[in-house]
Structure formats: C-alpha cells, structure tokens
C-alpha cells in the first residue's frame, strides 16, 4: 500500500515509462504542441469575434439611442409648445417615445433622465428612472466617466460604454449604456439608456463553446493520428528490437518480415542480411569447432593402439630390469614413468574432448559424501605422508546422501588433494565436508605458498601451471582443474578457488543434493575456518556421524 501511495514511486514509474517508451514520448509531445497551438488559435478567434460582435452591437445601439434621443426631444418640444402643458404629461410622452424608439432586446431597455449638473430644475420634477435602475443601481451601472463626458458635451453626441446590470439573482448581465442630452423647456437633461446585451453574450458563448469543442476534437484527432503514425513507424522498430533480442539469445533463424519498399523494408532487409551472415559465420565456426573436437577425439583414440604396444613393451622391459646394467635400467625406468604420464595426458585430453563435444553421460547415484571423502583421503594418505603433509578430514555432523556421480566427484577430490599435496609445503591439509538441505560441499585447504591474485582466475585454464619450477609428485596433465571444473558444472555445481599469498589456498566444490535443483549457496564458507573453541583433533574423523 505505501508504495501505491508514495508519490515518488509514481514519479519514478512515470519517468521510467517516459524514458522507455518512444511511442509515449512522441504521442505526448504531438498532443501537447497541438494543444498549445489550438488554444492559441482559439483565443485569437474568440477575441476577434468578441470585438467585432460587440462593436457591431454598440454601433447599432448608439444609432438606436440617437433615434430615441431625437424622438424624445421632438416629443418634448411638441408637448412643450402646447398651452398649459402639464409637466408630467410632457415627460411621460417624451419618455414613452424614447422607450419605444429604444426598445430592442428582449430584456428590455432601462432609462434614466437626470437633470444635468448645475441646471435650475423646476420644483415638481427631479428625475425619471426606470424601475431596474432605482435604489442606487444607477450609480453602479452608469460610471462617472460617461457622466462626465455627457455633462461636458456641447455637440449633442451620443456616448457609449460597456457595463453590467445586476440581475435579481445577483449575477451581472452585460450591458451597454449610452448617454445623450435633451432639453425640456430650456432645462438640460442627461438621458441614459441601458441596453441589456445578454443575447450577444449568449451568441459569444455559443461561439466559444463551439470553438472549444472543435479544438478538443481536433486535439483528440491529432492524438489518434499521432498514435497511428507512431505505430506505423515505431511498431516495426519494436519488432526489430525484439527480433534482435531473440537473435542475441541464440535463435539464429529469426527474420524480420519485409513489407513494401520503404525505409522500414530496407531496415528489415539489412537486418535479415545481417542475421543470415551471422548464422553463416556461427554455423561455420560450429562446424570448424566440431571438426576440431572430432580430430582431438580421433587422435586420442588412434594414439591408443600404438601406446598400448609401447606400454606392454615398457612393462616387459621393466620386468627384466635386473638383467640390465644400471644406466639401461634407469633408462627403462624413465621410459616407464613417461609412458604413464603420456597415458594420463591422453586420458585427460580425451576426457576434455568429451566435455567439448558434450558427449558425457552422468551416472548419478545416492552417495554418502562424507564417506566418499574419507575413502578418497584414505587412498591418498600414503602420497601425503611422502611429502610430510597430514590429511585432516573435518566433517561437521548431519551428513546425508547426495545424488552425484561418485566417479566424477572422487576425481575432483583426488585432483584437489593432489594439488594441495604438491603445493602444501608439507603442512597439514584440511579436507572439509558439510551439507545442508540443498547442497553438499567439499573444501580442500592447504597452508602452502598460495596463488597470486592475478593467477587465481587462470587456475582453471587448460594446461595452466602455477609454477613451472615446482616439483611435482602427482604428475598432472595440466588439465586437472579444467576437468574438475567441467565435472562440477555437469552436476550443476560450483568449483571455486580462494587464496592468500603465504597463507595457502582453498578450493571449494559445491554440488546440489539432488540432480537438477539449482544452488542457492554453499554450506561451507570459503575458506572454512575452525571456530576458536573447537579443538582440531575432535573434529577430525567426525564424518562417521553420516
């Protein structure tokens, strides 16, 4: 829940979406820019329409007011010319003429007939104001500026101004006020006519609404068009990206569909050409590699028959050493050991070629790993004794069986212990075993010179030797660790090396307890360390617990 509410998480998600989707970026940019353009154009149209509408309306109303003023003036003059005129009748007749002439909008026209400032008004008449403008409304509707302009007028012009009339519901109706002067019996009056122009505003609103709607539709349309265009262009690019991913993942047969003759088709064609040439190269390399593997395998096998003859001959000679003089006897001995070494090298080479060809068969069995370690260590104790190294098995309780190829695990262990004896400087060698629910681990730790950090990466390389000058007792083809690494990998396991110069090195093998499951970690640390309170002799040989 907090993740859903966290605005930063949302921001990150949006940013990621923005960065990762070209289509989203292109569509958003198009829509944004066209929105800006549409709003600009809309505002401009609205302003000019409003201006011209209002101007036309005002001109019309000014003309109307002019006519009304003239009609009113005439009415006043006619009634004023009669005998014994009643001032009320004069005014009413004039106002009626004015209102009739000025009646235009449905909302009606309000009027105000006020004496001009500074005029001597007969007592019985002060002013005439239509009901809508009474009670102070007049001062709000008719501004000081227009009153000043009308008051200063000498030429009988009509003045006009935009204003607003409060409605009964409290809103303001747009209106135009015109101001003019009339004379009644020699007294100057100011005549203000207020026209409600809500209908014009209505028209304007309708136009605005239509404009906004059209703009919105336009933007949506532009968005849709942008989406289609982007899909047309980005779609194939995305397909190309997905196809290259599959190609990179090793699916060499994928191709892009080629449609039409445009730039995208050209892209697809060049991509397909590239994929084709890639497949050709890889196939050629694979063939070359398999030819080489077969060659290595064939050579190894072809060498076996003559090697057997040599081996038998060496054996026959060796059985008769006592009949030879010392130098010949030594020669025979050298011949014998080198034949053995050659045999070992050939066997390792053949094993390696099997790994390379992927032609290995695993013989899984349920094996007690601790027991396997003890058996193997027992078999190598004599060799270790010759070099003065003591082999110590440290097995920490609770060991169950693991499903492994015992021959391969034994081969790895023999190789690791052999290496430890070779480089252990005659110091003790610890062989650790432990297992947990998912994995079994064996670590071989020596306290010799160790391996330089730069070389640690290369110890598993074929034919790599730690120190060519070092004396070797276990022979070794130079393929030992490479084969061990392959054997570990066949189990779905790990073979890792640790070393510190002067402190020795440690090789740790970790294999899954059951075949096919993947490793999560190793039951043993690298390198394994004895807890301080645990005495070494107590731990040695504890593998019987399994």
């Amino acid at each position: 829940m907090p993740r859903l509410l966290d605005p930063r998480a949302w921001w990150r998600r949006i940013r990621r979406g923005w960065r990762s989707s070209l289509a989203l970026r292109m569509i958003s940019m198009t829509v944004l820019l066209s929105t800006i353009a549409a709003v600009g154009v809309g505002v401009a149209i609205d302003l000019s329409v409003r201006q011209s509408l209002l101007d036309a309306r005002r001109t019309q109303l000014v003309t109307l007011s002019q006519n009304a003023t003239i009609s009113g003036q005439r009415s006043f003059e006619v009634s004023a010319g009669q005998a014994d005129p009643d001032i009320d009748a004069v005014l009413n007749g004039g106002l009626r003429a004015i209102v009739n002439a000025a009646a235009t909008t449905s909302e009606g026209t309000s009027y105000a007939l006020l004496p001009a400032p500074g005029q001597n008004v007969p007592g019985e008449f002060a002013n005439a104001i239509s009901p809508a403008l009474q009670f102070g409304v007049l001062d709000v509707v008719v501004s000081e500026s227009i009153r000043a302009a009308v008051g200063a007028d000498e030429e009988g012009r009509i003045y006009s101004q935009s204003t607003g009339v409060p409605r009964a519901d409290g809103t303001i109706a747009p209106a135009i006020v015109t101001g003019s002067t009339v004379e009644i019996r020699g007294v100057r009056y100011e005549l203000y006519l207020v026209y409600d122009i809500s209908d014009t505003q209505q028209t304007l609103s309708t136009i605005q609404f239509a404009l906004a709607g059209a703009g919105l539709v336009l933007i949506v349309l532009i968005g849709v068009v942008a989406f289609l265009v982007v899909r047309l262009v980005v779609g194939p690019v995305e397909v190309a990206a997905a196809t290259s991913r599959r190609l990179a993942a090793g699916d060499l047969d994928v191709r892009l569909p080629v449609r039409g003759d445009d730039v995208l088709a050209t892209l697809a064609r060049s991509f397909n050409g590239m994929a084709e040439s890639l497949r050709g190269q890889i196939t050629r390399l694979a063939e070359l590699s398999s030819v080489q593997q077969r060659f290595v395998s064939d050579v190894s096998h072809e060498l076996r028959t003559p090697l057997t003859t040599i081996r038998l001959a060496g054996d026959v000679l060796r059985d008769r050493t006592d009949r030879f003089d010392p130098e010949t006897a030594r020669t025979v001995e050298l011949l014998h050991t080198q034949i053995l070494r050659f045999e070992e090298l050939l066997a390792d080479l053949l094993e390696m070629s099997r790994f390379d060809a992927g032609a290995v068969e695993m013989e899984y069995d349920r094996v007690n790993v601790a027991r396997l370690v003890e058996d193997t260590v027992a078999g190598m104790t004599m060799l270790a004794d010759q070099r003065g190294s003591e082999l110590v098995v440290i097995a920490e309780g609770g060991h169950f069986e693991a499903e492994i190829d015992a021959r391969r695990i034994r081969r790895i262990l023999t190789n690791l212990i052999g290496n430890a004896i070779d480089h252990g400087e005659g110091r003790p060698i610890e062989v650790w075993v432990d297992s947990d629910a998912g994995a079994a681990a064996i670590a071989v730790r020596d306290f010799g010179v160790g391996i330089a950090a730069a070389d640690l990466d290369r110890v598993f390389a074929r034919f790599w030797r730690a120190d060519p000058s070092r004396q070797r007792t276990t022979g070794g083809s130079g393929l030992g660790l490479a084969i061990s690494l392959e054997d570990a990998a066949l189990h779905g396991g790990w073979l890792e090396a640790w070393s510190a110069p002067g402190q020795g090195s440690c090789f740790r093998l970790t294999v899954p307890r059951r075949r096919g499951i993947s490793l999560g970690g190793s039951p043993l640390p690298l390198p394994p360390e004895l807890p301080l309170e645990s005495a070494e002799p107590a731990a040695a040989g504890a593998g019987d617990a399994g």
Partner: protein, 225 residues
Amino acid sequence: MVNARILVVDDDPALAEMIGIVLRAEDYDVAFCADGAAALDAFHAERPDLILLDVMLPGLDGVEVCARIRAESGIPIIMLTARTDTIDVVAGLEAGADDYVAKPFNTKELVARIRTRLRPVTRPSSDVVRIGDLELDVIGHEVRRGTERINLTPLEFELLLALALKPEQVFTREMLLEQVWGYQYKADTRLVNVHVQRLRAKIEEDPDNPTLVTTVRGVGYRAGS
C-alpha cells in the same frame, strides 16, 4: 598340464606381436589372426581356450565376429577396445563378449583378465545347486530345467551359480564384478547389467518379468524374488 591357448584377433601387427610376447612370457600358447573375416576359421583351426578380440577389425568387425563365435561356442571372449565411451562396449558385451580391456592397458591388467576367465570354477560343497525350477550341475557345467538342457557360457554359469549359492543375499554389481569378473577395484557396471540381461534371456520364462534373477532397486541382484 597343457598350456592354455589364446587366439589374438587384432589387425595391428605390432600390438599383436607385443601381446604375443607378453602372453608367452606368462606361459600361454598364442595364435594370431589379423582379419575379421578369417577369425572364425582361425577359431575352428586353432581351437583356442580364450579369444582376445579387437573391436575395430578389417573385413568383419569385432562385434559381429563375437556374435558368430558365440553362436557356436561359450568360449571366453575378451574385447580389446579403444573407445570405452561409445556403444562399442555395450554392443560387444551384448554380442556375447565376457569382458573387455580398454586400450591402453598394461601387462598386469591383461593377464589378470585372462587368468580370471581361464580359472577353474570354485567348487561348492554340493554338486547340484537348485534355483527356482532350475538345476545347476556344478561338475558337468550344465543347467537343466526338468529334462531340458539350457546352454550357458562359462561366465553366465558362474554368474548364476554365484547368485544361486547364496539365495538370501543381495549382490551389488560391485560384488559380482569382484566375484565373477575378478575386479578388485571399481569397474564398469555395464558388464553386470548386460550379462544379467543375457542370462535372463536364456533362463527366464518371461525375461521382462524375471523370477529367477531379480533386480533389487538401487542395490543390485539376487536369486529368486
């Protein structure tokens, strides 16, 4: 006692001669044949006690030669093979070879394999051993079901006898490899698997549902169920 006679069928003259030298030093009589097609005639002419047979032979390949000799004789056959990881070994064993030696082998290995195959069967206390409805005549090296005689090679007879002598015991493949094939160290368990199959094919009423030599899953084999 007359020296045992061994026929070496190998097309590599140097190796054949070297094997001859080694075997003569061990007091065996040795005869040679360098061609697969001629091997059967050589077998008839020389009447050897054991055959060393190379798998890769000109004329007729070793597996085929093995099958033809096995069709008429139970003589011990040891294959010489360069490719232990291919189906050659299994094919050779299925064709009836008793054992195989992988090149490059040394004198000791070769001689040990030959000795095991030529050694006399250890005599049990009784002359007749029974297993199911079968009767094993230890002296006559014969197996009978009622009056019907079943032809077993010496190796198959030895395998069946080993199982029949201790009907209560489950034999692991390693135990059988040591007892019947004379291997002191871990050896190829395919030897046991293939020969148990061949044995079942001869003695069981229904080889797919064996009752005389049964498999104990994860361990090995035993006589009866």
